[in-house]
């Protein structure tokens, strides 16, 4: 039952037997360990964002009208556009994993570039959204606008809570997008240089894919909660 191999294998590599590492019984156990490990990290991310969603829920429950009036500053077309962009990027990412399974290197690279490109589009739209907020002095702090017309009649402090949560949650999400771009960049570099770690085993690509889908998941919840608020009675 020993997996140890001594001397050159028929493939010319020493000690390499495809992607299976020696501490695992078989490839299925290895895959499961990698995937469960990645999901462990994603569960911590659920905790990370979950508490922010809870806080948002609490304050929206407490101040529904103020939150509704404040949210009118958000552009639904931009938010919806960003949602579509992220959904497509999730698709291109899973296609990258698919091609990794088929070991089609060029297609993996194309899909990764497409995903990174779409992530860039998301960030550009976000830039325009944020800059319009900054211009209207909607960043909580000493510069927060005192103009009741800008606030649409909402209570000053409650509007600050809304925008504080808006910037915190979408900002944290944007940070995750940037990290995701970095991760995909590294992955792309490994594929480009034909590193064995990714060409022999699709699971590292799958793990980056899991991270990217998680980022998409967060946005799937952020968009309706913040952008599509029904008018409170």
């Amino acid at each position: 039952m020993s997996h140890a191999m001594h001397g050159p294998t028929p493939h010319g590599a020493t000690h390499a037997e495809g992607p299976l590492h020696h501490q695992f019984e078989d490839i299925d156990q290895q895959n499961e360990s990698y995937i469960v490990g990645m999901w462990t990290f994603l569960v911590t991310e659920v905790m990370f964002f979950g508490v922010l969603f809870l806080t948002y829920t609490l304050y929206r429950w407490a101040y529904p009208m103020d939150f509704y009036l404040s949210h009118e500053h958000l552009s639904i077309p931009m938010g919806a556009g960003n949602t579509v962009v992220l959904l497509i990027s999730s698709f291109t990412m899973v296609m990258a994993v698919h091609f990794a399974q088929l070991k089609q290197r060029m297609w993996v690279l194309k899909m990764l570039v497409a995903t990174i490109g779409l992530a860039g589009v998301f960030l550009v739209v976000k830039y325009f959204e944020y800059s319009s907020k900054f211009e209207q002095n909607l960043l909580p702090g000493p510069s927060f606008t005192m103009n009741p017309e800008t606030l649409h009649g909402a209570n000053l402090n409650h509007a600050q809570i809304f925008f504080g949560l808006y910037f915190a949650m979408t900002g944290l999400h944007a940070v995750h997008i940037i990290i995701g771009i970095g991760a995909m960049g590294v992955l792309g570099f490994l594929w480009q240089t034909k590193a064995k770690s990714v060409t022999e085993d699709f699971v590292p690509t799958e793990m980056v894919g899991l991270y990217w889908h998680f980022v998409d998941l967060v946005w799937i919840f952020l968009f309706p909660l913040m952008y599509l608020m029904p008018k409170p009675l």
């Binding site: 078989d26 999901w39 994603l42 990412m93």
Partner: protein
């Protein structure tokens, strides 16, 4: 149990390879749900008896978002084709989330609290241990919705 080392090398990772159509169909379903959620948000729904229409709108929005999340998790993240341990991990994460949301029960039942705070002697305050606004004029400047009031007016 283990394949021969040579076989392990050549059939390196024969994981379940799905047809790309699964992903295309999932993406189309996600688009459709997105359109639905935007469309419904423009129509404030009428309530049913004691349940306000607003509540129903929120429920529908969250329901559609949950459905989208389920599609992404099952198909894009391959959880449908994963081992039971993986599915348990995913379940654990979202179970934790639902358990944590019970914190809201605390805020919802604060009006029933009878605990006296340390400010019993102060006449302008109601002896509450809850966060008080600092304005002693009696005006609830920071809490016009009165969520911190006991008892609720």
């Amino acid at each position: 149990m283990a394949k021969s080392p040579l076989a392990a090398a050549t059939h390196a990772n024969d994981h379940h390879v799905l047809s790309p159509w699964v992903y295309v169909k999932t993406l189309l379903a996600l688009f459709a749900l997105m359109a639905a959620t935007v469309a419904v948000s423009y129509f404030p729904l009428r309530g049913l008896g004691p349940i306000s229409g607003n509540w129903i709108n929120n429920l529908i929005a969250l329901g559609i978002a949950t459905l989208k999340a389920w599609l992404v998790i099952m198909f894009f993240m391959h959880v449908k084709y994963s081992t039971r341990l993986t599915k348990l991990w995913v379940l654990a994460g979202f179970t934790w989330l639902s358990l944590m949301s019970f914190i809201l029960v605390d805020y919802g039942t604060r009006k029933y609290e009878k605990t006296n705070g340390w400010a019993e002697g102060e006449s302008s305050l109601d002896g509450s241990a809850l966060p008080r606004d600092m304005d002693h004029s009696g005006e609830r400047k920071f809490d016009p919705n009165g969520i911190n009031l006991r008892p609720r007016g």
